[in-house]
Each structure stands twice: as C-alpha cells, then as structure tokens.
C-alpha cells in the first residue's frame, strides 16, 4: 500500500507506504511503514521511495566539486569554508607537491577557489584538492549563493538551463555542488545572471522553468521575447526531481576565459569608456520594470504576511 504519488510534497513524519516498499534517502522505516524524514518531493523508482529535500545543508562527498573560500592559512594547509557544517582543508602538498612555498603568497584569506573533494574522513572533514584542469582561484566575477538542493535545477537536463543562460548573457558560470555559483562577465550581465539564478532557486519545483527563464533573459537583454520555436513538448517532462547534478566540463572554458580576460583587459584600456554598450540602459530599464514584476520579486518579502498586528 502506498499513500503518496511521485513528486508529492511531503513533510517529516508523514507515512509514505507500507512494508512492501524500500526506504531510500530522506525516509526511514518504523513499525513496517516507510515515513519521510524531510520536507521534500517524493521520488518513486521501482519499489524504492526517496524524499528529495527542498532545503538541506551541503555535506561533503568524495568526488564532488565545490566552491570554497579560504578562511585561514596555516602551517601546511589552508582552511576552506565550503558552505557546509563541515569545513574543508586544502593541504599544501595538494597544491605544490613536495616543494616548499609560502602558502599565503599563493592563496590568501578571502580568496575563492574551485576545488574537488578528494576525501571525507569519518567526522566529515573534507580534504580538498585541485586536481583537474580549471580548478584553482577565481579572478573577478561574483559569487551567488543558492540552496545546494537546487543545483541540479540550475544546471538543467544535460546542462540545458545553465547553457542557455551562458549563451544569452555571455557570462562564464561555474556551479559548485555546495550551492555556490561563480559568475563572470559584463558587470550588468553578472547582476542579471545573479537575479535569474535566484529566480530559478525560488521556482525550482515549478514546470516550464527553462522557457520562463529564457523569456526573462530575452526580454531583459533584447527587449523582446525569443523568436517562436516549435515548443518542446518534453519541457514539461523536464526533471524537477533534484538529483545529483551531472557536472559540466569547465576546464577549457576556464582556460579560455583566462586568455580572453587578458586580451580584453588590454583592449579595454585602449577603448576605455568610448563605446560603453547600451546594454547597461537596457538592464536599468529591466530592473525598473522588475520592481513591479511580482513574478520576479522573489527576494522581496512584502507579500509575506508575517503580521504582528493585533487588530484584525
């Protein structure tokens, strides 16, 4: 006997099924019943029930890629904040092997890095490394912070969402599985991308989100909706079950970005403000409109009815 359907929203303690089902992540078994331990969405596969949380703290797992901030430099390692109840360490030998160097000359407190979780010990402390190209310190850009459980939604099926955003905004985007996202591009585009990422976070469990985001971006950047396409029927199908994200290959992108950045810098110095793209105006316009556009006012608490008022 099962009491819920796939994608149902459930809460802790809710009975999901009788004994014939297996208890997966986010659930537990008690007295022959499978119950939810979280607030989240039901995922049914075969006879296994899982609950995918709406919100949860990032717990490091071996092999994950994360974005971390150097919190302290010590004798032979860096302490890294990885947006988790557990901090990470980046041992010096992961960076320079046996060579001896001054750690803070390489990465200093406040630096933000793209890292891999090399190992997690029994008390969940994460050992981090930089193996793999594209790993290392970010230069410039902004950090956007989202719920780690929303990361797969931001990436989308086979990267559909993130690639669309990248194409449209011309920003470089790197997503850490710990819910931190690095965005770099034109200053206004960075801000627009940040807004859009937060919108995806807020509406992660709604359907047709990719198109909605696409429309927002086109409207903001071109001032008009994207050209009519044959609507993709499977858009509705698109996962909102939040699975472990399929990671993209950032390495070449990052290297190229480095190269481009240097070239651009040289160019920009030449150009200076000469032909400041009118994109800034468009964005301003967008933002102005945005203020009244309630669908985009995710950060706004004004419709939150938390009222302390006694008179009623």
């Amino acid at each position: 006997m099962i009491y819920v359907e796939n994608k149902d929203l459930v809460i802790p303690g809710q009975v999901l099924s009788d004994d014939e089902y297996y208890s997966g992540r986010g659930t537990f078994k008690e007295n022959g019943k499978v119950c939810s331990s979280l607030m989240g969405l039901v995922s049914l596969r075969n006879k296994k029930i899982r609950v995918i949380p709406l919100k949860s703290k990032y717990v490091p797992k071996k092999g994950d890629v994360v974005i971390g901030k150097i919190n302290d430099v010590r004798f032979s390692m860096w302490d890294v904040d990885i947006n988790s109840p557990y901090s990470g360490i980046l041992p010096a030998f992961e960076v320079f092997g046996r060579e001896k160097k001054e750690l803070n000359k390489v990465y200093d407190v406040g630096d933000v890095l793209f890292l891999r979780v090399v190992d997690v010990d029994e008390i969940k402390k994460a050992k981090l490394g930089l193996k793999g190209r594209g790993m290392g310190k970010f230069k410039g850009g902004i950090i956007v912070d989202i719920a780690p459980t929303k990361v797969p939604r931001l990436i989308g099926k086979k990267g559909s969402m993130i690639n669309m955003i990248k194409d449209k905004t011309k920003c470089k985007i790197v997503v850490g599985q710990n819910g931190l996202v690095w965005v770099k591009g034109d200053e206004d585009m960075e801000q627009l991308t940040k807004d859009v990422i937060h919108l995806i976070e807020a509406e992660a469990h709604t359907s047709g989100l990719t198109n909605k985001i696409k429309n927002k971006l086109y409207l903001a950047i071109d001032g008009e909706l994207p050209p009519e396409e044959v609507p993709e029927e499977n858009e509705e199908e698109e996962e909102f079950v939040l699975e472990k994200p399929k990671l993209q290959n950032f390495k070449e992108e990052l290297e190229q970005e480095e190269r481009e950045a240097q070239e651009k810098e040289a160019e920009e110095i030449k150009k200076e403000k000469e032909d400041k793209p009118n994109i800034a105006e468009v964005i301003e316009e967008f933002k102005r409109k945005n203020k009244k556009d309630t669908t985009l006012s995710y950060g706004d608490n004004s419709n939150n009815s938390f009222i302390l008022n006694n008179k009623q």
Binding site: V109, G110, G141, I142, I143, W182, E190, Q191
Partner: protein
C-alpha cells in the same frame, strides 16, 4: 566574523565606482520600507520596521521612578538594544556587544538631543515621581543598516505610545485604569546611514556593502532640518567634503523617511 570573499569586495567596489549597487539601487536610494505600529498589545508603544530584509521590533514600557537629582522635573529615557542571535549567524547570545551598545546609544542620541519627547510633561511630582520610558530595540533579522531601521522603529513606537494618567492622591501616585494620554512629542527625526566604499558614499548599505565598507557615518536630522546626532564608525577616515555631502543628502532624505511615519 565572516570573511568577505575577495571577489565580492572587488565586485561591490567596482559597482559602486560606476554608481551601481548589487541590488540595482542608486547610491542614495533606500530599500523598501514598511512600518507597523501597535504590534505588541502589552507594550504602551510599539512598532515593527522592515527595511529591505532587515527587521526590528521596538517596544516601549513606562515605569514610574525617581528623577535624576539634576533634572527633578524631567522624565527619563532609557534605550537598550538586543542584537538577538536569531538575527544573524554571527550574533552571539549573551550581554550586549559593543556594536549593540553603540547602536542603542546612537539611536538614543538622536531622540534625546532633538528634545522631541517633552520630558517635562512626564513629571508626575517634581523631585519624586517621573515617568521613565524603557525603549527596547529587538533586532530580529539583520540584512544591513540596523541604525536607520531602529531609529524609524523608535520614532514610530514613540508616536504610538500612550501612558496612563497619573495623579497624586494623599502623597501616593494613583494610575488611572482607563484614562491615557499620548506621549507628548513635538518633532520627528530620522537617521541616515552612509558607508564609504572606494571613494563613494553609499546610503542605506546592505550587509555585504557594510562588510566591504571602510567607514560609516550616521546622521540624525529632524523634520525641520536640524542635525541632532552624528557618529562616525569604521576603521578609515572621511574627508570633510564627504561628510558635508552626506549631511546634505541626509537632510533631504530625512523628509522622505519621515513620510513613512
């Protein structure tokens, strides 16, 4: 204390350099403000203020007490602030921190120095019984610029305060059961807080802006444009022009803020 990522520092600084901000505001623009009064029925005056994501609640409780010997015919104001650990992951439970005391004192100074509360009308019997107003600031959500949110909340709470009518009968103070009077207030005041980022002054800073700023300036101005309180905070200096510029903006912004009261 949380360490600000270097790239966040850079991006905020660059934005401000180009007269932009991370939330799309102008440098001299406030976030959305909402004020509700009479939110606590057990308090004689109260208000809740939201300034963007920042939220504070102020409650005012009067008590009869003895006046200070040098002002035997004046009521007493006491402002106290609790930066609740609820409001910010970096706030610790325990006795008020230096920040919390500074906040309470800066907010208090504006109210006190503008003399907008008519303290002489809070005297019940000279030298013996005066009203003491306890103004308690409760910080419940810190998204930056607690100063201005608190001053607005105190101002709104004072305006909503009703005190029981007190009489002296046979040398005893007798409080009326049902008769109250409005706290006598003769002016209005707002606080405008600026931070310095790069070489620009930014009004109503967000949390990240506060964290990357090099210095802070609070300017308390009354409705009629008198400057009643100021405070400089932060580790770096200001130029005289920066200060005068901020004062000028504060005087015009105060009018805007007072509209919300």
């Amino acid at each position: 204390m949380d360490i600000v990522p270097e790239i966040t520092r850079q991006s905020i600084t660059n934005l401000v350099k180009n007269d932009k901000r991370e939330d799309g505001r102008e440098l001299n623009e406030y976030r959305d403000i909402s004020i509700e009064t009479n939110v606590i029925s057990k308090a004689e005056g109260s208000a809740r203020v939201k300034l963007g994501g920042t939220q504070v609640i102020v409650g005012i409780k009067p008590q009869l007490g003895s006046p200070f010997p040098d002002t035997p015919d004046l009521g007493v104001l006491m402002t106290n602030c609790e930066m609740l650990p609820m409001a910010d992951p970096n706030f610790e439970p325990g006795p008020p921190s230096d920040d919390s005391i500074e906040l309470a004192r800066v907010v208090d100074r504006g109210i006190r120095e503008s003399e907008l509360v008519e303290l002489d009308k809070l005297c019940v019997e000279e030298g013996k019984h005066v009203w003491m107003l306890f103004i308690d600031l409760h910080i419940i959500d810190n998204c930056g610029n607690l100063f201005d949110a608190c001053e607005l909340a105190v101002m709104a709470a004072l305006k909503s305060t009703k005190l029981p009518v007190a009489e002296i009968v046979d040398e005893e103070v007798v409080l009326s059961e049902d008769e109250t009077f409005d706290l006598p207030i003769n002016n209005e005041l707002a606080l405008c807080t600026f931070v310095k980022i790069g070489d620009k002054m930014v009004l109503d800073p967000t949390l990240d802006e506060e964290r990357v700023a090099s210095a802070r300036l609070n300017v308390g101005v009354t409705k009629d444009g008198r400057i009643c309180s100021m405070q400089k905070g932060g580790s770096k200096p200001f130029t005289k022009d920066e200060i005068l510029g901020a004062v000028n903006i504060a005087i015009s912004k105060t009018k805007e803020l007072i509209e919300y009261l």
